[in-house]
């Protein structure tokens, strides 16, 4: 110890002699937020592609012929409900109520599944009508953008089920709370992206 003090007196030290102590997971939330921001850029690119190619129907069907706004409205409601129920799960987590947290998470998962089911039904309907991704640049861009969002929701549900199992087995330990907070941000972020999807793709598509 005395040797190092002698050294520091003689020369400058350009590094921290002692690693600053960080609590485990103290930087996780910021790191996950940065991931979400990079995910946001992926969606921005897909929105830009849709914006550029959204009018190229290749003499095929356009949004007016294809989209069913009632279905989109129901889908939007499903995702919004799942957002608020996830919020309730977080409030239950803050109270330390494990059972309530699990119940609200399960309800969130069901709304997420309903959203996915309706979206897959819509995709199936479109493909059945011949409006496949290969039909026109508009449909390629549409399936890529909406499909990427659907894929995110799918992985969100897988993550949600995984966390339900973990909370069920280990309870609301700090690590699980941190994971639930990350999924909370992911889930609400997907709802924010969906606002862009139903506005630019569906509603603006009907106005074209």
């Amino acid at each position: 110890m005395s040797a190092t003090t002698v050294k520091t007196d003689q020369a400058d030290v350009f590094y921290l002699e002692e690693e600053p102590h960080h609590e485990e997971g103290s930087s996780t939330m910021l790191g996950f937020w940065l991931y979400l921001m990079s995910d946001c850029l992926i969606f921005a690119m897909l929105f830009a592609v849709f914006g550029v190619l959204g009018g190229n129907y290749a003499a095929g069907p356009g949004p007016r012929e294809l989209f069913d706004l009632d279905l989109v409205a129901i889908n939007t409601a499903m995702l919004l409900f799942s957002s608020i129920t996830y919020g309730f799960a977080m409030l239950a987590m803050d109270r330390g109520a494990k059972r309530q947290t699990l119940v609200w998470l399960a309800i969130t998962g069901l709304f997420g599944l309903a959203f996915l089911g309706i979206e897959l039904y819509e995709f199936g309907h479109l493909i059945h009508e011949g409006a496949t991704p290969q039909r026109s640049a508009f449909l390629s861009a549409f399936f890529t953008l909406v499909g990427t969002h659907g894929l995110h929701v799918t992985f969100g549900i897988i993550w949600l089920v995984t966390l339900m199992v973990q909370v069920g087995m280990k309870g609301l330990i700090p690590a699980n709370k941190r994971r639930l907070m990350c999924l909370s941000m992911f889930w609400h972020f997907l709802d924010v992206i969906w606002i862009g999807v139903f506005t630019f793709v569906y509603l603006m598509g009907m106005l074209r």
Partner: protein, 130 residues
């Protein structure tokens, strides 16, 4: 020695913040405010487009405006964004992302629109071929 001090200050702040994180999830009230605002801001654009009561341009403007406001509502009431969390770094990252997103979206649409306009004679021949 001063460097060590400077490094300790934000760290202790972070630890302090972590202790308060339990209060950072909003309350039942704030979630309900966000939910009700979101429902209103979703219902208005859907109703306008479905009924078509307003001229197209006015509808488009309101639809876009409602989307922007709803995104802000979600950011505040669901994602709990504020200028203080993580020492302001989440807000900095968000602002940086918004700048990049705006450049990409506006740039792509602007450039490709002009490309389409200037290539018009060719574009007519191409439409049939897809």
């Amino acid at each position: 020695m001063s460097a060590a001090n400077a490094n300790h200050a934000p760290e202790s702040h972070d630890a302090d913040h972590l202790g308060h994180e339990g209060h950072n999830h909003g309350s039942f009230r704030s979630y309900m405010i966000g939910f009700v605002l979101s429902v209103i801001l979703t219902a208005i654009p859907f109703a306008l487009v479905m009924t078509g009561v307003l001229p197209t341009n006015a509808t488009a403007a309101i639809v876009m405006g409602a989307a922007v406001v709803q995104i802000v509502v979600h950011m505040i009431y669901f994602l709990h964004m504020n200028t203080k969390s993580e020492g302001g770094w989440t807000m900095m990252a968000l602002i940086f992302t918004i700048v990049i997103v705006v450049i990409c979206l506006a740039g792509s649409l602007w450039v490709m629109y002009h490309l389409n306009t200037n290539m018009m004679p060719g574009a007519h021949d191409m439409t049939g071929m897809g």
